[in-house]
């Protein structure tokens, strides 16, 4: 942990940790040095003192383990830590065919209420392919384009987790 790129809401900064001991952090950000008084005051909560000003940041893990959601007094940012592994993964994914358009998934955990399609069936853009219920709310997931149902990876009544692939289109 001494030199890295950080992407904050898409803007990239270069940071270098010069020293970090006893709660005092000396960091160089895009060529400028800063002295920060740092304390992890609660689970995922950081208190910073910088030139007499008090800041507080709340950090939670995003979907993937190097993407974080950071918030402070009503503001929030998506922060991605870019390391060699991330760069490699990005290059490898360039030109990949599946850009998410072929997989139907739900961002939330829940229960499968109904799957009104079968494998091999042709569906039109906007056709409902699966209905998920969570917290008394039913959400219909629709096909993003005209396609054929290639695979159904779950069943009615099943409990699912967030981002789990449910239906594959062809």
């Amino acid at each position: 942990m001494n030199e890295f790129d950080i992407e904050i809401n898409g803007r990239s900064v270069h940071a270098r940790i010069l020293e970090f001991k006893e709660g005092l952090l000396e960091v160089e950000i895009d060529g400028t040095n800063h002295h920060l008084n740092v304390s992890r005051v609660e689970e995922g909560v950081y208190s910073f003192i910088l030139e007499g000003k008090s800041y507080e940041f709340e950090v939670t893990n995003g979907v993937r383990n190097k993407i974080f959601q950071v918030s402070s007094r009503g503001h929030s940012w998506e922060v991605e830590l870019v390391d060699a592994e991330t760069r490699y993964a990005r290059n490898r994914n360039k030109g990949a065919i599946d850009n998410g358009q072929n997989t139907i998934s739900s961002p939330m955990p829940g229960k499968v209420v109904r799957i009104p399609v079968v494998v091999g069936q042709d569906v039109k853009e906007g056709d409902t392919v699966i209905i998920i219920s969570a917290m008394k709310m039913e959400s219909e997931y629709k096909s993003p384009r005209n396609a054929t149902i290639k695979e159904i990876l779950t069943e009615e009544g099943a409990t699912i987790v967030g981002h789990q692939p449910l239906i594959i289109l062809e």
Partner: protein, 510 residues
């Protein structure tokens, strides 16, 4: 007086009821499903009994089981809270037949008011104004088409057994009628087990204003003023306040009396709410009566200084209301925001999950009725409401200022909540000026649903980046510590933790 109360509910309302019981030194019995073994209501009560698996049909709606638990635990009364069995006439009856006290109205009142069609007919007979529409169940799709030819569009389709916006559809165009009717029916069937739907004329620019009433067994009735609940999204209340900006003392007196007339017409006993639609000219129409304690009851408690749960318990014990109509006074202003586990940036998708850290707002004029805690996992099976944030001020302006401050203080980590959306509502000029009706959210879609503006200084962004980096490093160290703490052979294959640490560091290359 009642000796011991079973609370047939969960979440914030169960906790809220237990709190009042504790103040009265009445022992409490909680019931819980398998999904709620860690829920605060069961931890907080004096006794707790498992009533079944996670789905509410097998637990919180299991009437026989709940009554059995009441008998087994020696409770002499059951408080149903809101939702679940609170407006179930059969349950009210079963509780009485079991020789227990139901803290709520009897089956007759619930049946009459719970069935929206019967309620309308009863109101017409009692001289309370109602919205034009059918007074009967729609028998067929042809029937529905005939009714809209008679009363004209737009119309609202409503589930007869409904509530909470379920089974409701607004129809503007003739071709929307049949799809909306089918959708309303199927939603009503799955939510209430009854697909009866009726039609009402839709009032343009309506305000949703409701009156809190109390009635005791000695035929005393009072109203505790109004609540303005016009900030709604998909017919779900989002922000409520009292007093209502529209209200004049004359209109309040008149509507309050009509609300009491409505309650008296069914010999209502307990706390109830009479909902009205009010247009800009002050015309008002009876909408429905909710025969339970409402979610938004705290705003009334704040301005009239009465604990409604305690009043319910007094009434159920056969005692007289603690105050008369002349003693009811509204002081100051109160606002409630409902905090939901929903992602406002993602079409309000429910967002269940584990709360990593929680800090609730405190300080002058702030009340939080919630049930979550740090480390609590919000289950997928129930309502997404986490808490109700209520602020009180000497004036409406102060209540708004406090609400903004409290929303800023509220920290719920790792679960998406409606807090950013609520902040935007509180910053909206029309809301601040009190110039809004039930179309408020629709009218301000552009500002309310836009991504949160990011005008933050570059330095703040950089610090946010550093916070993320420190957290990543922290998590990495925790993981390493955890694998280091295990004895040989348990995943480490005898390697030293420091070797693993070094290797992970090498690979991570941040």
């Amino acid at each position: 007086m009642i000796q011991k109360i079973l609370i047939a509910n969960r979440g914030e309302i169960a906790l809220r009821i237990i709190r009042s019981c504790r103040e009265l030194k009445i022992p409490t019995v909680a019931v819980y499903s398998d999904a709620d073994r860690t829920a605060l209501h069961m931890r907080y009560a004096d006794e707790a009994f498992r009533i079944g698996p996670a789905p509410s049909t097998e637990s919180y709606l299991n009437m026989e089981r709940i009554i059995d638990v009441a008998k087994q635990s020696g409770a002499d009364a059951i408080h149903p809270g809101y939702g679940f069995l609170s407006e179930n006439a059969q349950f009210s009856e079963m509780v009485r037949e079991a020789g227990l006290i139901f803290i709520g109205p009897d089956a007759h009142a619930i049946n009459t008011m719970g069935d929206k069609i019967t309620a309308r007919q009863t109101m017409i007979k009692s001289g309370v104004p109602v919205v034009p529409g059918t007074q009967k169940n729609l028998e067929s799709e042809q029937d529905a088409q005939k009714v809209i030819r008679e009363i004209g569009l737009p119309v609202m389709l409503k589930a007869s057994a409904g509530g909470g916006g379920k089974g409701m559809r607004l129809v503007h165009k003739p071709e929307e009628l049949l799809p909306s009717l089918r959708a309303a029916r199927s939603e009503a069937a799955s939510a209430f087990g009854n697909d009866t739907v009726y039609i009402e004329k839709y009032i343009e620019s309506p305000h949703h204003v409701e009156f809190q009433i109390l009635g005791d067994t000695l035929d005393n009735y009072i109203h505790l003023g109004e609540r303005e609940c016009s900030v709604q999204r998909r017919h779900q209340k989002v922000v409520e306040e009292t007093p209502c900006v529209l209200m004049t003392p004359e209109l309040r007196k008149e509507m309050g009396e009509k609300a009491i007339t409505a309650a008296r017409s069914v010999k209502y006993v307990g706390a109830g709410t009479v909902e009205f639609l009010v247009d800009d000219e002050g015309h008002y129409y009876f909408l429905e009566m909710n025969t339970r304690l409402q979610v938004e009851h705290p705003v009334t408690e704040m301005v009239v200084g009465l604990d409604l749960v305690k009043e319910q318990i007094r009434i159920a014990s056969g005692e007289r209301l603690s105050i008369t109509q002349e003693q009811v006074q509204q002081r100051g202003h109160a606002i409630e925001c409902r905090i939901y586990a929903e992602d406002p940036d993602n079409n309000f998708m429910p967002s269940p999950g584990k709360i990593k850290a929680l800090r609730e707002p405190l300080g002058p004029g702030v009340r939080v009725d919630g049930y979550a805690y740090s480390g609590y996992e919000i289950p997928i099976h129930y309502d997404p409401m986490i808490s109700k944030l209520v602020t009180y001020g000497a004036t409406r302006e102060e209540a708004i200022q406090r609400m903004r401050r409290a929303l800023d203080e509220y920290m719920i980590l790792s679960v998406k909540t409606s807090i950013p959306f609520l902040k935007k509502i509180l910053d909206q000029k029309d809301f601040i000026e009190g110039n809004y009706n039930t179309h408020f959210i629709e009218k301000h879609t552009d500002t309310l649903f836009s991504a949160t503006p990011q005008d933050s200084a570059e330095m703040m962004e950089n610090l946010a980046g550093i916070a993320a980096l420190l957290e990543y490093n922290h998590l990495l160290n925790e993981k390493i510590k955890a694998s280091n703490g295990q004895p040989n052979g348990n995943g480490n294959n005898g390697k030293s933790g420091w070797k693993i640490y070094g290797r992970k560091r090498g690979v991570t290359r941040l």
